[in-house]
């Protein structure tokens, strides 16, 4: 049971396929870890199915079926696929994350405080990262110029808005300052999707912001 579910509107956008790739990945991971969100999305998919079923048929040219039948010659019916397995070191990764973990990706230490893996999302301006915080350590206080989506994948963290465990989802608009700190126990790993570069507000912010905005850290 998630204490911090994603808002229903976001689940609808996900089921309808309208989210950009970064936020869609964040929602997919939340849905993978939260049975209740999964039930909601199942239902929304059923709404999509019902809408298709009710759709008035568009005319399809007669040759379309013939062309499709001809193509079947080259297309095999595949055996039921086994779920993908994560590569060593990433056993905690829920299924939707696995295709993004290409070989060679590794944690990179940032500011001597936390680790980051930047994920590729071609065609999406969002910045998508996995962050890893040691227990009791935090991110520098920051606020956002755009929306930020966070889903906790391992461990837990606490900030001014509450405590977040595995599967919990947070979405925040710009202008909110927060300072997440990893809970005691195991390191906290979260996926963070940021619309625009974050703005550091602590004493070092002035010096670091130019680096952040250039995407160096």
């Amino acid at each position: 049971m998630s204490r911090h579910p994603a808002p229903d509107e976001l689940l609808l956008d996900y089921a309808a396929g309208t989210l950009p790739e970064g936020p869609a990945l964040a929602v997919a991971l939340h849905v993978a870890l939260d049975p209740q969100a999964r039930r909601t999305v199942d239902r929304l998919n059923a709404v999509g199915g019902a809408l298709i079923e009710h759709e008035i048929e568009a005319s399809l040219d007669d040759a379309a079926l013939e062309r499709a039948m001809a193509r079947l010659e080259q297309v095999a019916v595949e055996p039921r696929a086994a779920p993908a397995t994560a590569r060593p070191g990433f056993e905690w990764a829920p299924p939707p994350l696995i295709p993004h973990l290409r070989a060679g990706l590794g944690w990179r230490r940032i500011l001597g405080k936390f680790d980051e893996i930047r994920l590729d999302v071609p065609g999406d301006a969002h910045r998508v990262s996995l962050l890893r915080l040691e227990p009791g350590h935090g991110l520098p206080e920051h606020n956002h110029r755009g929306y930020e989506y966070t889903v906790c994948l391992r461990g837990g963290y606490t900030d001014q808005t509450g405590s977040y465990g595995v599967g919990d989802f947070a979405v925040g608009p710009g202008g909110e300052r927060h300072e997440p700190i990893a809970d005691p126990g195991e390191p906290c790993i979260a996926l963070i999707v940021v619309e625009k570069p974050i703005v550091l507000t602590g004493p070092w912010g002035r010096w670091l912001n130019p680096l952040v905005s250039r995407g160096w850290i």
Partner: protein
């Protein structure tokens, strides 16, 4: 017309013996509907036809992964068509994982009576759509058919974003409430 059970049978026959006649029946039923559905989002005729064609080819390829206890045929085909449309929009990028892991791989044993549930959910959703108020239906339709974000829907309906969000929430709340009665 094709009932939900008949459609599921056809997919299973493709999986078990690569039955081309079953494919043709599914194609005749679903391809024109998928095409119409995709065109509502403003996609042109040729592209919509391509999405419909690719969707049905994918139904053939992945027939063995279809699980009627998890989703109705129409729901499964909807998720494939949606992902194909996203692929079309992101033409340059790598194709997304078209096997919707949610429908295909969601953890086993989560809902004991899934088999009853999948069919029921689909039938109930169909009924419920008819029972929503016009206000609620408009936002849901726009979100699904026209591929709009909430901000764009709000602009088009000349409504505050908060109103659009609360209508969606109400509509989803009604769907959920009615569906949970069955569980």
């Amino acid at each position: 017309m094709l009932s939900a059970d008949e459609a599921a049978d056809l997919i299973e026959v493709i999986a078990s013996r690569q039955d081309r006649a079953a494919f043709a029946s599914l194609f005749r039923h679903f391809a024109p509907r998928v095409k119409a559905f995709i065109m509502r989002g403003g996609t042109d005729v040729e592209a919509a036809q391509e999405v419909a064609q690719e969707t049905l080819i994918m139904v053939w390829r992945k027939a063995a992964s279809f699980d009627r206890s998890r989703a109705s045929a129409a729901t499964w085909i909807y998720t494939i068509a949606r992902n194909k449309r996203i692929d079309l929009l992101r033409r340059a990028a790598r194709p997304i994982d078209t096997e919707d892991w949610l429908v295909v791989y969601a953890p086993e044993g989560e809902e004991a009576d899934k088999s009853v549930l999948a069919g029921q959910t689909y039938t109930r959703v169909k009924e419920l759509l008819g029972g929503l108020s016009e206000d609620q239906l408009v936002v849901i339709r726009k979100a699904f058919f026209e591929d709009k974000t909430h901000t764009v829907i709000a602009e088009e309906l000349k409504l505050p974003l908060g109103t659009v969000k609360s209508r969606i929430r109400l509509a989803l709340g009604r769907l959920r409430e009615a569906l949970e009665k069955d569980e």
